[in-house]
Every structure is written in C-alpha cells, then in structure tokens.
C-alpha cells in the first residue's frame, strides 16, 4: 500500500498531549503540506511517521509499513530532512553521503551517480572533497537534501527545505520536489513559508495539536472567498442593507470599497442586487479569494480555544 494513511494518531509525553486524533491520507505522487505554528505537533507527527517516536494512540502506515512496529523497513523507504541539516563538519561532503549510503547498505558504486546528479543539480558539483564545516548555510541545507535522497526513498518528509537558501537555490529545490512527486514519491512538506506551500502542495493540513482543517489549497482559499465591490461615495452606508440579506454576510467597508464575505459563489448576485436596490451605483464587483496566509491565521485563531 503506497502513500501515507493516518488514523486517529496521537502522542502523549506523560500528561502532555502533543498530537491528538490526527487522521489524513497522502497519495503516492502527492505533495502534502503540514502547516501549523511552532509547537503545534508537526515535528512530533513527522517523527511518528518516520518511526522515531511510537504513537500512543491510533495507527498509521507509511508505504505499507506500520509505524508502531515496522521501524527498520519503514526507515528504509523514508527520507527525512530535519530542520537542522545535522551534518558532520569535519567530514567532507562525500564522506557525509558515504556514511548514509553505508547505513542504508547501498552499493556505493551504484548509489553515487544518483548522489552526483543531485550534487550537480544543487550546485555542489566539484565540492565533494571539501569539509562540510566550511560550507555556507545554504550549501549545508542543499547537502542535507541530497543526503535525504541518497537512498532513493519512496516517502520524503521535508522540514523547511528552502530555509537559508537564496531565491535561485530555493527554486531549484522546489523544482526538484515537484519532480520527485512526479516520479510517484509521496512528499510531506512542513513549512512556515505559505507561499511555497501554496506553490508546491496539492493539499494541506493545518494542525494545532489536532487537525484544524484539511483539503486542497484552492478549496481552503475558496472557503475564504469574498466579493470586493466598489461603489460611488462612502460604502459604509450600505452595511445596514447588506445585513438584511438572508445569509447576513460579514462586511468590511473602507472608503468606496466593500468587502463582503461569501459562503459560496451563488451569493454574489444577491449582494449586487441588494446594493443596487439600496441605491448604490456599483462600479465593479470582483470575486476574490483570500491568500492562504489569511485563511491559515484565521484557522489558528478559531482553533485557539
């Protein structure tokens, strides 16, 4: 069974609940975003799914391996990029990679072309024999990504993969992630860079100890859709009229602009008709979607209780 299947997963450390009742499914070939503030349980979730921590509740399988009992075979198919690159400074880039090839019991002669491909791709070609201690932050991050991929993992967990990278390198990494997914790998991306998540992920889950929301990025943004209406004169005077609508939308008024929150697209004509009926001269009415960041922050506010 490919992909990731998570059912009611939870983790307690003594009395402290780190994650509870988490359920989601990630398909093979999908890039899935795991979003949440610091301390929301993202790292704990990833650690459970990579066999580093045992769940205290629920169950999960990663590429057909149960996370609670198949530790060794699970770790063979999983690649984990941790938040810190975690490289051995006195060792060269080649030695760092060779160590992980040995841990995965790879035939080094066969594994090197793959490693070299990624080293070249990330601009580290020709730097293999240099000690990692002399690398810049971005170079270390890129080498850590190569290390994550060296054993050709089926499921890849990436924690802030473009952290510390210049825009060009970040783009290279994003392209590589998309390419890896297109090869049928399952990728889970943890990031605070919501623009990046929006660009890379088909679906996201917003967690804060428990699941707050999950779905395709487009749908989550759609849930926060609004109609921006530009009228003649002060828009504030039409708030009362809009409040009479059966679905009583939330309205923000600023100068000649009204921002009317909608539950779905079908409400837009009613809003325009209501405004016209109230005597408004409507210059434009444009449906908009809120940026993911706004949706995300609202979800966190709602989930605070």
């Amino acid at each position: 069974m490919s992909g990731i299947h998570v059912q009611d997963l939870g983790k307690r450390f003594g009395d402290r609940v780190a994650v509870e009742a988490l359920s989601f499914h990630v398909r093979s070939g999908e890039v899935f975003g795991l979003l949440g503030p610091n301390g929301a349980g993202k790292t704990t979730t990833v650690r459970m799914l990579t066999g580093l921590l045992q769940p205290t509740e629920g169950e999960a399988t990663v590429w057909g391996h149960r996370v609670d009992r198949d530790g060794e075979p699970l770790r063979k198919v999983v690649g984990l990029l941790t938040e810190q690159p975690g490289l051995y400074d006195r060792l060269t880039a080649r030695e760092n990679l060779r160590f992980f090839m040995k841990l995965h019991e790879l035939d080094e002669a066969a594994a090197w072309p793959r490693a070299r491909h990624y080293l070249e791709r990330f601009g580290l070609g020709g730097r293999e024999e240099e000690p990692v201690g002399g690398f810049s932050k971005g170079m270390r991050q890129k080498l850590a990504i190569v290390r994550t991929l060296v054993h050709d993992p089926k499921v890849i967990f990436l924690d802030e993969p473009t952290s510390g990278l210049d825009p060009e390198s970040a783009r290279t990494v994003r392209d590589a992630v998309a390419e890896l997914a297109s090869e049928g790998r399952t990728i889970v991306l943890c990031s605070h860079n919501l623009a990046e998540v929006e660009r890379l992920c088909e679906r996201v889950a917003v967690v804060k100890r428990r699941l707050l929301a999950m779905g395709p990025v487009r749908e989550l943004r759609h849930a926060g859709q609004a109609l921006e209406v530009r009228v003649e004169g002060e828009a504030e005077r039409f708030r009362v009229a809009l409040a009479q609508l059966p679905f009583a939308p939330n309205v923000l008024a600023e100068g000649p602009k009204l921002r009317v929150m909608l539950a779905d697209d079908a409400q837009a004509p009613d809003v325009v008709a209501c405004l016209v009926g109230a005597g408004a001269r409507v210059h434009s009415a444009v449906p908009t979607q809120r940026p993911l960041e706004e949706v995300y922050l609202e979800l966190l506010r709602e989930g605070r209780g």
């Binding site: 066999g51 580093l52 941790t82 975690g86 400074d89 040995k102 841990l103 995965h104 019991e105």
Partner: protein, 266 residues
C-alpha cells in the same frame, strides 16, 4: 530486529574518520599515555642512578621488613614500582575511551546530527556497537603502543643495574592484553551511558572521568602499603570489571533507545 554488522561498521567507520580529523582530541588523547610511560621510566632511572643511596633501603624496608641484608634495595624498589604502576597504567585504557565515546555520543546531540542518524535503518545495538568499537580500537591500540614504548624505556634505563630485560614480564603482558581491554570496555560503557543522559560532550567527559578515581585510590593504597598488588590482585580487579562491563553493555543498549533519545535531544 536483526543485527547488521555492516551498519555497525558504518558507524565505526564514520566515528573513526571523525576522530582522525579531530586534532584537539587526538592531542588530549596522547597526553595521558606520555605521562603513563615517562613517569615510571623516570622513577626507575632515579633508582638506577643512585642504587646505593641509604634512603632507598629505608623505603624498601617500609614495604618489606624481611628484605635480606644483601639484597639490592634499588632492584626491590624497581620491581615494586613496575608491579604497582600497572594499577596506574590501567587509568589509560579507562580514560582514553571516555574522551572518545563522550564526543561521539553526546557530540551527536550537540551537533544536531542525532535525528538524521536515528532516522536511518541503524538499530540501537548497531549504534552502540559501532560507537564502542570506534572508542575501543584506538584506546586499546594506544595502550598497547604505550606498553611497547614503556617496556623498551624501562629496559634501557634499568640495564646498567640489572643487566637483563625486566619487561615485558608475565603480569604486564597478561594485564595489558587481557585486563586492559576489559577496563577500556568499562570506560567506554560508562561514557556511552552518561552521554546518553547529558546534553554536552564536555559534561559527559567530566562525569565519566570520575570513574578513574577508585583506580587512582587503589594505587594510592598500594603506595601507602595498605594494598599489596600482584597477579591475583589484578586478576580480581579484571573479574569485577568484566561483570561491570556486561551490566554496562546491557544498560547502554537500553538507554540508547531511539524514542528516549529523540524526545529528549532530537
């Protein structure tokens, strides 16, 4: 879970490579063997230089009141020094692996390399084995090399008085090749155990190094004439340490539990 020697050897390979490039640690590893070799050679040399000094006889009689009148006090004290010094020499195989193992286990936490390592297929037993080998092999090699230098040095400085090679003798040969590796295993086990509980390599070294105090204390007892060192005495020490080694191995594998390490330090 199957034990895969290749993965344990991979850990050994990486740690050994890292050690070879750690100049600071290599220098600190060499200081103790130098002291352990040069001090007894110096002591033997002082006895050889003035073998008829009246005070030597007084000292010899303190340790053995039955020393015959015609016997050489200098020769007696040389033999006693060589027997007693073996107890002190055992500090080296305990201390050197502490220096290495503290760096390699607690150092992984400090450098934040532990999580990627634990996310690989390596098991706790393979990790302990690889890291222990990386601490034990250099420690035992240093001990044996120091022993060879010690033997040559003692024989050279003692020759004018005794006209025969004193070293290697049976006690030292057995001790260095059988008991010293057991002590090295002990030092390593203590360091691995403590490194698994603390966050910094330096703290692990400082705490682990406390285990040499009983050894030094016993040597103090020998010098004070309270304890009489000999083959049986060191054999008993070796047997006790062998039992401790088995306990430490068991505890180390248990304490290097993946979840415990990740949740505390990862």
């Amino acid at each position: 879970m199957a034990f895969r020697p290749k993965r344990a050897l991979a850990v050994f390979w990486k740690d050994f490579l890292d050690l070879r490039k750690n100049v600071g640690l290599l220098v600190s590893m060499m200081v103790l063997p130098a002291v352990m070799v040069l001090v007894p050679i110096g002591v033997v040399w002082t006895y050889v230089r003035t073998p008829d000094h009246a005070d030597l006889r007084s000292v010899a009689l303190f340790y053995d009141p039955t020393l015959p009148l015609g016997a050489s006090a200098a020769r007696f004290l040389i033999d006693k020094t060589l027997t007693d010094w073996f107890g002190m020499f055992l500090v080296m195989p305990v201390f050197v692996p502490i220096l290495i193992a503290s760096q390699s286990v607690a150092g992984e936490k400090e450098r934040r390399t532990l999580e990627p390592l634990l996310a690989s297929p390596v098991t706790a037993a393979e990790l302990v084995t690889g890291k222990s080998l990386a601490a034990l092999v250099p420690s035992v090699a240093i001990t044996w090399t120091a022993f060879v230098v010690f033997c040559v040095g003692v024989d050279i400085v003692a020759w004018p008085l005794v006209k025969m090679p004193l070293m290697p003798n049976a006690l030292w040969t057995f001790g260095v090749f059988v008991i010293a590796p057991l002590f090295a295993f002990f030092g390593n086990g203590v360091a691995v155990l403590i490194s698994a509980r603390v966050s910094e390599a330096r703290m692990a070294q400082q705490l682990s190094a406390l285990v040499v105090l009983p050894i030094v204390g016993m040597v103090g007892g020998q010098v004070a004439g309270v304890l009489k060192a000999g083959f049986g005495y060191y054999l008993l020490q070796g047997a006790v340490v062998l039992v401790l080694d088995a306990l430490l191995l068991w505890a180390s594998i248990r304490l290097l539990d993946r979840e415990r390490l990740v949740s505390r330090w990862g």
